[in-house]
Assembly symmetry: C3
Homo-oligomer: 633 residues x 3
Amino acid sequence: MKRTLGVCYYPEHWPETQWAEDAARMAALGLTWVRIGEFAWSRMEPTPGTYDWAWLDRAIQTLGDHGLKVVLGTPTATPPRWMLDRHPDMLALDKDGKPRGFGSRRHYCFSHLGYRAECAKIVSAMAERYGKNPHVAAWQTDNEYACHATTLSYSNAAKSAFRNWLAQKYQSPDALNRAWGNVFWSMEYSDWSDIGLPNLTVTEPNPSHVMDFRRFASDEVVSFNRLQTDIIRKHSPAPIAHNYMGAVTEFDHFATGADLDIASWDSYPLGFLSDRIPAPADHKLRFVRQGDPDFQAFHHDLYRAVGRGRWWIMEQQPGPVNWAPYNPDPLPGMARLWAWEAFAHGAEAVCYFRWRQAPFAQEQMHAGLLRPDSAPAQAFGEAEQVARELAKMPDVGTAQAHVALIFDYASDWAWEIQPQGRSFSYFWLVFHIYKGLRRLGLNVDILPSDTADLSAYKLVLAPGLFTLSEPLKAALAAHQGTAILGPRTNSKTENFAIPVPLPPNLPGLDAKVIRVESLPPDVPVPLAEGGNLLHWREKLEATATVTEMAEDGWPALVSSGRLHYLAGWPDDQALTRILHRACAAEGVETDPLPEGLRRRDTATHRFLFNYNPVPAEWGGVAIPPAGVHWTEL
Amino acid sequence: MKRTLGVCYYPEHWPETQWAEDAARMAALGLTWVRIGEFAWSRMEPTPGTYDWAWLDRAIQTLGDHGLKVVLGTPTATPPRWMLDRHPDMLALDKDGKPRGFGSRRHYCFSHLGYRAECAKIVSAMAERYGKNPHVAAWQTDNEYACHATTLSYSNAAKSAFRNWLAQKYQSPDALNRAWGNVFWSMEYSDWSDIGLPNLTVTEPNPSHVMDFRRFASDEVVSFNRLQTDIIRKHSPAPIAHNYMGAVTEFDHFATGADLDIASWDSYPLGFLSDRIPAPADHKLRFVRQGDPDFQAFHHDLYRAVGRGRWWIMEQQPGPVNWAPYNPDPLPGMARLWAWEAFAHGAEAVCYFRWRQAPFAQEQMHAGLLRPDSAPAQAFGEAEQVARELAKMPDVGTAQAHVALIFDYASDWAWEIQPQGRSFSYFWLVFHIYKGLRRLGLNVDILPSDTADLSAYKLVLAPGLFTLSEPLKAALAAHQGTAILGPRTNSKTENFAIPVPLPPNLPGLDAKVIRVESLPPDVPVPLAEGGNLLHWREKLEATATVTEMAEDGWPALVSSGRLHYLAGWPDDQALTRILHRACAAEGVETDPLPEGLRRRDTATHRFLFNYNPVPAEWGGVAIPPAGVHWTEL
Amino acid sequence: MKRTLGVCYYPEHWPETQWAEDAARMAALGLTWVRIGEFAWSRMEPTPGTYDWAWLDRAIQTLGDHGLKVVLGTPTATPPRWMLDRHPDMLALDKDGKPRGFGSRRHYCFSHLGYRAECAKIVSAMAERYGKNPHVAAWQTDNEYACHATTLSYSNAAKSAFRNWLAQKYQSPDALNRAWGNVFWSMEYSDWSDIGLPNLTVTEPNPSHVMDFRRFASDEVVSFNRLQTDIIRKHSPAPIAHNYMGAVTEFDHFATGADLDIASWDSYPLGFLSDRIPAPADHKLRFVRQGDPDFQAFHHDLYRAVGRGRWWIMEQQPGPVNWAPYNPDPLPGMARLWAWEAFAHGAEAVCYFRWRQAPFAQEQMHAGLLRPDSAPAQAFGEAEQVARELAKMPDVGTAQAHVALIFDYASDWAWEIQPQGRSFSYFWLVFHIYKGLRRLGLNVDILPSDTADLSAYKLVLAPGLFTLSEPLKAALAAHQGTAILGPRTNSKTENFAIPVPLPPNLPGLDAKVIRVESLPPDVPVPLAEGGNLLHWREKLEATATVTEMAEDGWPALVSSGRLHYLAGWPDDQALTRILHRACAAEGVETDPLPEGLRRRDTATHRFLFNYNPVPAEWGGVAIPPAGVHWTEL
């Protein structure tokens, strides 16, 4: 397969006279893909029911004429102002009950049936018109589902849909009462219409209530997306993608991914480091112009799983962005490094966002490949270099990883609902373990929690899974390799209750979590061999072998053969030791890397990426800051 | 009197088949009391007006059959879902005007007359049925009034009741205008219906307005509680308690206490340390698994006063809880220490919360004496030890303290309304002084602010009292001993104005507060003899003797004989010196204790409690971590 | 001109029997002015349409009888309670849509036409009655516009007025769509009634939308004020003032100032230091009882510009205030220092707030010249000293400054809307540069952004101007002196878009900002000559001379002759070097001052002010803490 580059473009933002020149420059730069259309509803349907396709026809034609392929986005993330006149109640309500209004984007509730019908209409019209267009080579549904925390809506539309969802699931209020334990505080319901959304309660609502609401809300995204994919498929053979975001877990991406052909994501390494990653100040300082050395790779591996192997970067940061608390300029070379890192992790395409910096409206301070005055910006030359390098590089393929790490959206909801300690986060626990693996130079495959086959992997990690699915239980039972579960793994029933017998309930491993504690960040639990548990520890009653012991005598890691249970959140030192030991046991070669240097093996090449602002050395090779180094395997 | 143990139990949470075994194990453990019923309204009255008492009859009978005594709770903290259909406007509104809805607990406005009538009905039905039941040996009204900040409601029901309360108090809007100083910003009212609740104003409302609202809101709790006690007393001879919380001051507990026979409180030492106590990080770290060494004792002494000598712990933390920012596991032995400390302070009973950890709903991560799988949890054995020890110990009685500390709920409201400096808090000022006294090994009695007789005390402290009540003024005038008042004592009129002549207006002590200042925590006011004033200092114009002087020449403590006025918030060093001097003057023996070690004398024994995570030594005795040591006096 | 002292007084707060004695003491103290009336609407018009002027007649007469001059305030900041019955929708709504209700002050929306009519009525009645009164020698409109963040209202009245304002400005929705770039996210409008206020959007609204809303809101303040000045001028020859606040930029003070004769402001140095100034902890600690050494001077210079030379302090802090997070007592002498500093900067009058501390209502903890018991407070003697000193001092006049600093309210709105980095603030950038100038001992004139004549100045600074106005462009082109612009200067079009060609677009200076970055406070950009850029840096493509270079090779200051562009926010070290160099080039003498010591030259005298809590030395003169020193020039 040929890896390709692309760009995001908004013909409606520019005079039509400029389109041909833009297209010519894109082609000359070596780009293959141009994504268009996803915010242009007010130009496609200026008044209700009246379409204007002429401009879009010409835009696609112009791009096609220059040999470019179009990714066509459905515009449902930005309904025009007139939509509100037709559906005044289509807005999502926030947790406080306030409507989230018009004037930016994503101002819709996923559960609003009237709005869904409008979406079906515009998507149908687009799919009919462009489904067979030779230049439309891929589709994108909507834009960044969940961005700006838009999955959860506390509207009447959502309430009504949630009640139906519950009725379908539980069949009777009594069954629901039992499943949720509503007797607890006289919270029992006698009718579906009694049930509200879990906001605005005096103190915390029942976690089972919230968990079902989170599942429901995720399902709403899935069915909203499916509404569009079903329509597009009727008219077009082109593959369909959605562009996900970083560290966004509000809906189950595996479930939406099942209806799509390609997973893609929008990679803004500096924005994410500034805005989302809870790293210490010295780490943020060191990587301020490069991004966290693992955050992008983690999402590459995650979305490769979501896309069942097919994945893209749909939006790649090219320079400073506008939306993070601080928006530094990337180190020269990073726009190249980020692209190559994506390709090394298997990306089919990397599209920079955006072609030309828009001088107006919300994102005017967001860099593009071109400056507002159409001169090349910093990333232009770097993209050009990547294009040249790609042209010379054979397909690097994808290597089979020896290590699998399970990622489960529902578990993130569960522990967000019930962190038990302020510093416990499922997402950051998984990422912490991912970083530990990467620091050892390992390739990692991320797998969903209903994975049924682990036979390709020598080492499997499944931290913090709310429940163990039946397929995964079976796969673990059949697994010939090392598995490390815990902490919190399998600690709840599907209904969000503590199971009896007590967790983790792992066949063949006699261990019970008899007590858990959450700890302030400055209260470590020292381990006998060095390092600590942090944030979270469990006290085990176990006959299984104690592989790691806390200094206070409680087991920290218990083992039965190749099955291990980790009773806490290990710090870097403890984690590295545990992973080393597991790799050694399975004959998986490790390669401890210096800070900020990362490695990825493909089928044919070994890639090294230097995220440091200073040169790094590895295996006798000096790699400059922001440098990429590859060797054939 | 025999000190006893008990437990909180929820028969409605468990299969009826399990009740007998549970009761047998409780009895075998040595428990006396079982509190039940307080959240079971949806099971008592599943649909409006239709009662189901059969299950509760059998539960009480089962417990009684095993020799256990029942504390029966009224279920008014958790009205069922159907209540909202009958009284849609019964919800409290928060300060922003948002309803505090169904789905957890305490979702009612104290002022809603319809809800009050429903409460009267269910309490009447319970009292009629169980008032003479031989196993029902005590009652509890509602549950944790004010918990989740539920005293203040900004509902229409509250507004209407507040207007009536004001009309009753002031008789005419003009009188109210004068009392509040409403001329200040043209805030004058001409009709009761003009008056709103003091929320949602552009900037701060008139403090007199807020103060009356706080008094009103407290009165509403008192009358809500009295509605229940009046009914219960008609039908039952058993004593009535309510279970208060820690560091909760939203209503006047002395006033509710006047209608009750027993004060009880819910003691969660680790939750409180994590969540409520504004202590420095090193203190929180040292006591993370034990709790603050004075917080429990303070409340024991406070509630002994509220209960006019009769008090219990109704809920005692047995292991990790679920609701604090961080929820560590108590050090082994703390569940015993906490119980003995309560007994040493005069508790009649200590009930652990709860019997078995509930695997479902909001508090599933809250430990019990039993694990969810019914095996004994850590505290089970400690409770057993306490039961054995109690059986061998004669009644320890209560010693008369030499030191009294005044605590006044209204003063906490006043300084919350008008802190004047961000770090001024009445509650923490009083607690700070309590800690100073305890570090000197002193027994302390806490007294209400309308105390009329101080003759039993050699030393009386009355910091921060908003106003001096007439009885207290008379008691101070008659007092043969040392009294230390200030800062801020008697600094306002009843109407929340500065009195002229200027405060503190103490007969016999010529001193006027002519200026006050609040200070950032890093701006100390050094004292000539060492130590500092912090947070708050007053400048005095005085002819009284200057006993402590600030380095800048202003008096810090002025004295006239045994009456002293303290012109600021002393730090530990200054406080200790001042207390030492006062004790020495009155011949009160002090015993400076090492960090984390605390002492309490009863009528017959001296108890020592080691709150440290390391051994402590005192008087040649080594006391292990979490250790309790007693000797006969 | 004779500089004078005054005081704020509220006859309605005190028994009429006290007025004469108060007036006599004011006169004896040496006061000239008494401001009254601004909160007394409920006494002027107790019920709608019924006026009671008798008390006010007598109050004015009493003051006049003692030789005092009255500043009469219109009471429109505190509409009485009955106003709400007449105009229930007159309240402003906050950003969340919640009404900002009755119970304090400033509870009105500037756009409410009904309320405006009521204001016109009461102002007309006052102006008719007192316009020719010989004792009413000045007027004040309303009180502290914008205080408590009251400029922006999200009410229906505001929405309707905003639509009209937009219609007037753009003439067609299409023109507005183009100006704002509404195509960006399908935000196009087809009718004026489509347009909402820019609150409650899902993510950030269009900055052009917000900018126009901010301009509109400022215009509403201007027209609200003009409504009153137009009426007063019809009936009274006395000058009209308004009392502005510190660090308040919500509306364009130059624009309101154009309708007034005098600018005045309310100077609370300790409150501002505690509450508003983002200074490091050690700075706040050092100046905790004195205030920031430059904050007052900055506002003096600013309001001298707003008042076109005529300005007052209408409210001067006399002791501790009640409203800041912490409220310390001023160092003895500061109430004198602050007054003299104001006079040195050209104040015509300084009025202390307030005569006697009110013992009741919201500001009871705010000191006055008298204590609540009518005894003199600390500041009384200091005011007396100033009065004596003034009597002996000839008019000090005003010196022409060599340095001008441009201040522009709209730029503060712009960068608040689009900070791009969390630590970027226009106001604090300008203040930072002002401090740099003052540390060099320079007199500074502040000028509005439409200044058309710079000929009086050797050095002009114009940092961060959103746009360069046509007059200022012309003035800069004609300027014979040094001008330093940037960062961010002229970086937007009037419509809030990035201009092409790229900024700063300065004739004669070939430099383009091709990329900007915002930086966390711990990420400095070191300069080759020492010091750093902080918070913000711009990358320039320039042929202009590079006067300052960053260590990474990018220009930091580029120059063409005497025109300079600064490509970032310089730290103290870099700023001082740049200012030194500019002053040296223009022959402007500098005088680097020790910390906390400040200097101001008038036409006749050199004044030195010691803001330190310790003595300072300068030119062989020792100045005590809080000391003022003057010498004839």
